[in-house]
């Protein structure tokens, strides 16, 4: 069994600590079982299952740090791993940015582990894939998809008495449906902690509908358009902004949060006042680990409050340099929204473009957070509140900071890639060229 209980994990960590000759020792123990199935052209292509337990030991002498890992947990292996980490540490140069390990911490409770997912077997995995392939075959379309489920735990401990344990499960599914003539393509994705919530057939129906509706798209002139970004598309750009919120980079003058003449934009209103973004490890829709990998507690943190930059993540080292409180990066985030559904956002739009998702999004300028990428798998023209026809994919060049100042309306958040993101209606979104890709 690779998923240890808190007591079992603590016992192993305590044993590892007992072997230490270093000034300080930090231990991380993780275990997981991951299964996957991949399909294309309406048939299974590959599948696999892996189990792994991994122990990582970091030894510290003064400011010298060394790490070693092992996946065998007998006493001899544990001791050997500690000796090996100590050996690497003795050989390492000093790291002047090293800070002593954290002492005991209080962590919140977070419920991210579901038995239903942990018990998933190969046959059930194949059945979920078949439920996606079958409707595609019936409609003479072509399905390509991937499903991965995982159950595991993470335990941390150190020689200053810190201990943390967090079990979690996850399932990720995605499917692309293409028409046989190659003129239509649709996509749907879903991710949950609980596999019981995953309905591959329903997700596939959405992708089928988009594939059929996107056939024979018309070309529209690139330019500035009002767009409705489905949560998958909106989330992609918003997460780039959230992940770029780093105090050190901002202070050093190399961030979108750096200010002319020095200083940062912390406390300034940077976005539309309807934008509030926060993270909470106890969010029932996106439960997350209550601690970061270096042991800092994860708590509810508001990053943007009514458009104002409220908090910026900060490493322990930089916090000590600047006399601030350290603040770890969140694993996911929630962007507050309203009650409007995607359909209602479309209905309220006189003229605009509906974007299913973005593809190959890459930064162009870290200073302005300008990104480029393309629309994919379902782009439609909206007129007088109705979807009129499919349009060819566009390349966009846009910054989430500019986009969140051009906000028209916010819909109801849904889970996408571990975050809760609403569909967004944005004016003057910049499309710079057309793509023939389907």
């Amino acid at each position: 069994m690779v998923i240890l209980t808190p007591d079992e994990a603590k016992k192993i960590i305590d044993k590892v600590l007992s072997y230490s000759q270093a000034d300080e020792l930090s231990v991380e123990l993780t275990g997981s079982r991951t299964g996957n199935i991949r399909f294309a052209r309406n048939t299974v292509s590959t599948s696999g299952e892996t189990e792994n337990l991994s122990l990582s030991v970091t030894a510290i002498f003064g400011k010298k740090i060394g790490t070693a890992t092992v996946n065998e947990l007998d006493d001899a292996s544990l001791e050997k791993t500690v000796r090996r980490a100590e050996e690497v540490a003795r050989l390492a140069p000093d790291n002047p940015e090293y800070l002593p390990l954290l002492g005991p911490q209080k962590y919140l409770e977070s419920q991210g582990y579901l038995d239903t997912t942990a018990r998933l077997e190969a046959r059930q995995r194949a059945r979920l894939a078949v439920e996606s392939i079958r409707p595609s075959r019936e409609k003479k379309l072509s399905a390509a998809g991937y499903q991965e489920d995982s159950a595991g735990f993470q335990a941390i401990g150190n020689s200053r008495g810190l201990f943390g344990y967090y079990p979690s499960t996850s399932v990720n599914f995605s499917v692309t449906i293409r028409t046989d003539d190659g003129t239509g393509s649709g996509y749907a994705a879903a991710d949950y902690n609980d596999v019981a919530q995953l309905n591959t057939r329903a997700a596939t129906e959405v992708a089928i509908q988009k594939a059929l509706a996107s056939q024979n798209a018309r070309a529209m002139e690139p330019g500035k358009y009002t767009v409705i970004l489905e949560p998958m598309a909106a989330g992609e750009l918003v997460q780039f902004m959230v992940r770029a919120m780093d105090a050190r980079n901002a202070d050093e003058g190399r961030s979108f949060l750096s200010k002319k003449g020095g200083g940062t934009r912390l406390g300034e209103k940077l976005l539309d006042e309807r934008v509030t973004i926060y993270s909470d490890p106890q969010d029932p829709d996106i439960p997350a680990s209550p601690f970061s990998s270096d042991g800092l507690p994860q708590q509810k943190v508001v990053w943007f409050d009514k458009g104002v930059v409220k908090n910026v993540s900060c490493s322990r080292y930089w916090a000590a340099q600047k006399g601030l409180a350290p603040l770890p990066q969140p694993s996911g985030f929630r962007m507050d929204g309203g009650d409007a559904s995607l359909a209602e956002l479309i209905k309220s739009t006189e003229r605009g473009i509906l974007v299913t998702r973005f593809w190959y999004t890459r930064w162009l300028d870290p200073q302005t957070l300008l990104y480029t990428g393309l629309t994919r798998d379902g782009t439609f023209y909206i007129e007088n509140g109705q979807i009129k026809y499919p349009v060819k994919n566009f390349r966009f060049n846009e910054s989430p900071v500019i986009m969140l100042n051009n906000l028209e309306a916010i819909g109801k958040p849904v889970r996408t890639r571990g975050s809760m993101v609403p569909p967004l209606k944005i004016r003057d979104f910049t499309f710079s060229s057309l793509s023939d890709a389907v």
């Binding site: 052209r41 599948s47 696999g48 990582s56 072509s142 390509a144 870290p366 200073q367 710079s432 060229s433």
Partner: protein
């Protein structure tokens, strides 16, 4: 080690965003252990036969086994500090079988007769289970067994034998040189890889290979605090299939163009490049923002290599063309009907692309691929016309060919092999023509060096690339530096606008160390050779914004 651990190990995580999960696989070990020779080939043959015999006895019609030892050493520094040094080793066995016309794959780190037999049984059981929902039975091109053979990357200095201190000293010299020349920040890295791969198959091949590659790189940042602006410049090095001799910085392997940038071929002067980078990053802060419009582009191999990779390498992967990658990377505009027509004009008639896994110093060069096929060279685009793809043993019959192209690769013993890109390179012009000649012939143009932002659609039509250095050309002269430059085009239109190619003397390699593909994702390393090349009337956009 998982990705999160790796990001932590890498400190600020420069590069972490561009590193795939698979790079982090492996357990950290002391540097000395990287010199341990590992199991000898005779012992590996005995273990391999256990896998092959077990698979056959369980009903496999074909089996191959890879016993792999993957050694990596990487260095992370910023300014005057070494953030981390990681030595890792990953060792295990992957077994792939065909049973009931279906692939099955299983892997284990138990490199014992018992562990391998159990793993082979699992692979056959998985194949048989998947056969129930399989509708396209595997058709495998024949491959005669090659017997007991070996191959080694021709290196002069094994990077793993160079002391850690020497490498740290080099990076500290690089960083200090950049800081002394006006950089506000600098991060630098060294990546070293040694793959010791043993392959055996039921065809009667027993192949032992020792593969080396490395990548020295840095990013230098200059800041204008008063204006609240910053600009960076990345190294102009190439990740390359060489030993530590690549870092010798031989004068014979570099040249500068009209007194402007210095470019490197098979030997790299990292300290000199860092000094230039610091000065150029400062120059970028004052560079003129480009007026959008049409320009003639002169693209250095350090920039054009990525464009080749994305707009020629990926669209000609046969599995993409067939739809196997539709759910992630996408499909391809270069469909089979275009190839069958024998007149699809991929580029202008001077455009010739060759695929190979044999070219010296390239990262895809090996003796045999990961299904035991001897490596070779073949044409993809000949005189501008699409003539072929990249294929593996189970695909090549679709092209009417009877021998695989040798494009099978797995990034680890525990990853299943599939079709991966060989080196894809643009042939130089047979006529004598230098970069200086090329610049002199341009009236209104931009000369671009270095790898920058890149983005391309899922069928590889529309792309946008940026770079590291942009020089404005007016009437045959470089007149100054530009900024905020990105070029946008369509693959076929772009390659048909190819107007001149420099000669063999200017032929250099670009490389990508972490090319991602597949679900779950795998990384591969590949090189792209080309000389400096001119494209007429390319659309340039201005990427400057204010927030």
């Amino acid at each position: 080690m998982n990705r999160r651990d790796f990001v932590r190990l890498s400190g600020v995580g420069l590069g972490a965003a561009m590193l795939p999960d698979t790079w982090a696989a492996g357990k950290p070990v002391p540097a000395a252990e990287l010199l341990n020779p590992g199991l000898d080939p005779a012992a590996k043959k005995i273990l391999a036969d256990v896998a092959l015999n077990t698979a056959k006895s369980r009903g496999a019609t074909y089996a191959d086994v890879r016993i792999g030892r993957y050694l990596r050493q990487y260095f992370f520094t910023r300014e005057t500090k070494v953030e981390n040094i990681v030595n890792s080793e990953s060792y295990g066995v992957g077994i792939r079988v065909i049973a009931d016309g279906t692939w099955g794959f299983a892997a284990t780190n138990q490199v014992t007769k018992e562990g391998i037999a159990r793993c082979a049984e699992r692979a056959v059981a998985l194949a048989k289970a998947n056969a129930e929902i399989q509708t396209e039975p595997v058709v495998l091109a024949p491959q005669k067994g090659v017997g007991v053979v070996s191959w080694k990357t021709p290196i002069q200095k094994n990077a793993f034998e160079i002391p850690v201190k020497e490498k740290v000293d080099l990076l500290m010299k690089v960083n200090n040189s950049a800081l002394q020349n006006g950089a506000a920040f600098v991060t630098s890295n060294l990546f070293f890889v040694n793959e010791q791969k043993y392959f055996a198959s039921s065809d009667g091949s027993y192949i032992d290979q020792d593969i080396h590659r490395l990548w020295p790189t840095f990013t230098v940042t200059a800041i204008d605090k008063a204006a609240g602006r910053f600009k960076s410049r990345d190294a102009l090095s190439a990740p390359i299939g060489m030993g530590y001799e690549y870092l010798d910085g031989l004068a014979s392997e570099k040249h500068s163009v009209m007194g402007y940038p210095t470019v490197y071929r098979y030997s790299y002067d990292m300290v000199e490049d860092a000094i230039l980078a610091a000065k150029q990053a400062k120059d970028k802060l004052k560079a003129r923002s480009v007026p959008a419009g049409k320009y003639d582009m002169i693209l250095d191999p350090s920039n054009l290599g990525l464009t080749i990779h994305e707009s020629v390498g990926h669209p000609l992967e046969l599995d993409r063309v067939l739809g196997y990658e539709a759910n992630l990377a996408g499909t391809s505009f270069a469909t089979l009907d275009k190839w069958r027509s024998k007149n699809f004009q991929y580029g202008s008639n001077m455009v010739n692309f060759v695929a190979d896994k044999t070219q010296p110093h390239t990262m895809a060069a090996v003796g045999f691929d990961d299904e035991g096929v001897p490596c070779k060279e073949w044409n993809l685009v000949k005189d501008g016309i699409l003539v072929n793809y990249q294929a593996t043993r189970d695909q090549v019959h679709i092209l009417g060919e009877t021998a695989s192209h040798g494009c099978s690769f797995a990034d680890s013993w525990d990853s299943v092999q599939f079709q991966r890109m060989p080196n894809v390179s643009l042939r130089p012009s047979p006529d004598k023509y230098s970069i200086t000649d090329m610049i002199r012939d341009v009236e209104k143009g931009i000369y671009i060096l270095g790898r920058g932002s890149s983005s391309i659609d899922q069928q590889r039509y529309n792309f946008q690339f940026s770079g590291q250095l942009f020089y404005e050309i007016k009437n045959g002269e470089i007149v100054g530096m530009l900024d905020d430059v990105a070029y946008q085009s369509n693959t076929q239109e772009f390659w048909n606008s190819c107007a001149r190619i420099c000669d063999q003397d200017d032929y250099r390699l670009f490389g990508t160390f972490f090319d991602g593909k597949g679900q779950p994702g795998q990384a591969s390393a590949v090189s792209h050779g080309c000389p400096t090349t001119r494209f007429n009337g390319v659309n340039v956009i201005n990427t400057g914004r204010k927030i």
